[in-house]
Symmetry: C2
Subunit: 190 residues, 2 copies
DNA sequence: AATTTCATGTAACCAGTTACATGATTCA
DNA sequence: TGAATCATGTAACTGGTTACATGAAATT
């Protein structure tokens, strides 16, 4: 407790989603909810019970600041804007290296991170992310295949097929990321 | 509150995982933890703080019954066995129709359900599951593609690529399920 | 006039995380 | 003998879910 710990770079998936959206454009809780409920962006709850408290937390961390719009009319709207501190936190979060843990437990976070990089990171930094992603995914793939080989004989059909789904899914992710790298490299040369 | 509601078929992902494992073979909380921490089966926390309370809940629902092994020695082991009621609950849960909601929000649950079907369902029932799965996935795929087309112009590269990942992932799932159906149909004829 | 949408919230509940705690047994 | 593993738990915290609540403005 004596050290400052800096920490603060641990966003929950929901917090990251909200912060990322507000980073793109200042908006209200209702706007965020609408985004979650009407677009595929957001495998997230659009329930007010999740979003409004999350916004309060994010604000109390100093990452966004709310300002009431439409003060005159009787339909106020609390619009949140990213602060400098919020920018830093988001940037630092997006820059975190991709770990094996991430690809196993937090794939959705990784995709969310990628989706938000456009506005916040340099192309080079996004490329680094994608390369780390490929490497972690492929390393995990290897261990999945190894495991499957070891237990294949003793595994019932359903188990084998379920494992195949996992392997296929990581294969697809590696392929996707390689394609994304190409896109980014193509774009750079323009 | 007056009606009996039957309900009780809502398993959390963790409860389902635990119940499914115990259905395959009577085992202790520690065994379950080991399974989660040492095999790819289980994108689940192996933390005792999750598993032991979950086991208690499951037991208090009457789905499993614990019995102390090794009473003589000083290293007791609480081994849980599936009850008739637990069998029913599991079976009913696995038989639930695949909804759009499932493929959007609970893909991991669906895979878990599939993995556990081997011991509990008839081949025909598993086939029905897979066919429903394909149909829901493809229907959702359609809407994702539609959405992408609508917003493609206005979307930055990262957004488009992130959406592509989602689409690829559902495509892969549909392909996987079709393959699984073939396997099952091949098996039947033997 | 009634319904839908805009807009923000709270309260009770539930389940999972982290960290801590205990102690026996086995292995190096 | 010390470390790892077996084995089961608890407590405080956190954050998300469901359901409820309110009311203005726009739409039908």
């Amino acid at each position: 407790m004596l050290s400052t710990m800096s920490a603060e770079t641990n966003l929950s998936t929901l917090s990251l989603a909200i912060l990322g959206l507000i980073a793109q454009k200042a908006q209200s809780g209702y706007d965020v909810r609408k985004m979650f409920s009407t677009t595929p962006m957001g495998h997230f709850s659009s329930s007010p019970g999740a979003i409004y408290p999350a916004l309060k937390r994010i604000e109390s961390n100093g990452w966004v600041r709310g300002r009431i719009d439409n003060k005159k009319t009787l339909r106020p709207k609390l619009v949140y804007k990213l602060t400098k501190k919020g920018q830093d936190v988001l940037r630092r979060h997006l820059l975190q290296t991709v770990t094996r843990d991430d690809v196993i437990w937090h794939m959705d976070d990784l995709m969310l991170r990628f989706a938000f990089m456009g506005d916040v990171l340099e192309r080079e930094e996004t490329l680094r992310f994608l390369k780390e992603f490929v490497s972690e995914v492929e390393s995990y793939l290897l261990s999945l295949r190894q495991y499957l080989n070891e237990v294949r004989e003793s595994m019932p059909l359903n188990g084998k097929l379920a494992m195949k789904q996992g392997i296929d899914s990581y294969k697809m992710n590696a392929t996707w990321a390689k394609g994304a790298i190409k896109e980014f490299e193509r774009n750079r040369r323009q």
